[in-house]
Amino acid sequence: MVTKTEETQLNRLESQVDNGGGGAWEYLCLVRKLKVRRSDKVLKHGLSILNDSKKRSSLGPEEWTLYEQVAIAAMDCHSLDVAKDCVNVLQKKFPESKRVGRLEAMLLEAKGSWGQAEKAYSSLLEDNPFDQVVHKRRVALAKAQGNLSGAIEWLNKYLETFMADHDAWRELAEIYVSLQMYKQAAFCYEELILSQPTVPLYHLSYADVLYTLGGLENLMTAKKYYSSTIELTGGKNTRALFGICLCTSAIAQLSKGRNKEDKDSPDLQSLATAALEKEYKQRASGKLSVLTSAFKSLKVSS
């Protein structure tokens, strides 16, 4: 989870390092801690540290973690020879290590030799059947080959054992959404909200999936989750505000024939539209006219 302070700190360090100031090692540590994917910058600055033998020796035992980080970043940037060199260095230092074996299998995956990578992962799993990262890499391998149903199967098996892994639930939800299996995706998001109820982004994604599914009940639940997103983010989430407006108009359209249950929906919609107009006036005043005409068309149809 990246909070706002951490994000500003990361951006500041990034601009500092990019413009030639020092602090490359702190930047790399922060990237590793926050688990963001900045492979090109990691590769550039990591190599600058590793190629300078003085800086490298000043790192001490952290040097090997840096080799691993740079190896993965190199694979992501498709600089496979850099990755191979890093993995070789690590292999010389730690000859019988599972972690290095995993890196080698990732290198095979990056090269595109799917069969060999699959064999490498299976053999790693035989030695240690409870290695979470290797399970997840196997899922990623299936995903990379385009075999999404295979990836779903592996991921479900993984989640039967390791039910508390939020990243895996999120990945499963995203795969389901990409395959348009929205009911299953909704289930995954429900699991996520149960385990981490204060993260607004899960509420938002869940509400999006429910809105896509459609139907009166789903729309009402989606409106509730958009509202909880707004509450958790202090009213700053534009997407949730739009979600409320759209949900209200869709609900009104669906329940036109039936008896109108006028709870507090007119208040909520007018509040949401007012908040959106204020935000647009502040940030993109040129688009304000487009916004007001969109709202008019929503109200007309509802």
């Binding site: 989870m1 990246v2 909070t3 706002k4 302070t5 994000e7 926050l34 688990k35 963001v36 994917r37 590769l43 550039k44 190599l47 590793l50 190629n51 740079v70 993965i72 190199a74 694979m75 992501d76 940037c77 498709h78 600089s79 020879d81 850099v82 060199d85 890093c86 260095v89 990732m106 995956e109 990056a110 595109g112 990262v133 997840k136 890499r137 899922v139 990623a140 995903k143 990379a144 990243d167 895996a168 999120r170 990945e171 993260v199 607004p200 982004l201 983010t233 202090g234 700053k236």
Partner: protein, 108 residues
């Protein structure tokens, strides 16, 4: 931290408590000689215990520093983005076509 007032008071409180413990054990020894029951520590030991308690509590609150207030709704603590799922990262994306920068080699 230096020898601030809180640390001194804490040390005094601990000394008072340990003195009270010593006095109680001596009192019990005295009772064993006179073969009376040990109903409770004598009155001055009780006073000493209360004083020691107050001093230690004061020191425990004063020494570690000021309390910071919790801002649950402040902007700095809001989650901006979820971590990119690096465990499920795949490598055959469109980034392959970008020309890598020159000098991207590991010198060995």
């Amino acid at each position: 931290m230096g020898f601030s007032l809180g640390v001194v008071i804490g040390a005094v409180g601990v000394l008072i408590l340990s003195h009270a413990a010593y006095a109680t054990s001596q009192y019990r020894g005295l009772l064993k000689i006179t073969e009376d029951d040990f109903s409770g520590p004598p009155f001055n030991v009780v006073v000493e215990l209360i004083v020691g308690l107050v001093l230690c509590m004061w020191a425990a609150l004063a020494v570690p520093g000021d309390f910071l207030s919790i801002h649950p709704h402040s902007d700095e603590n809001r989650i901006v983005s979820l971590p990119d799922n690096l465990d499920f990262m795949i490598f055959n994306h469109r980034g392959k076509v970008f020309v890598p920068e020159i000098n991207m080699r590991l010198k060995r």
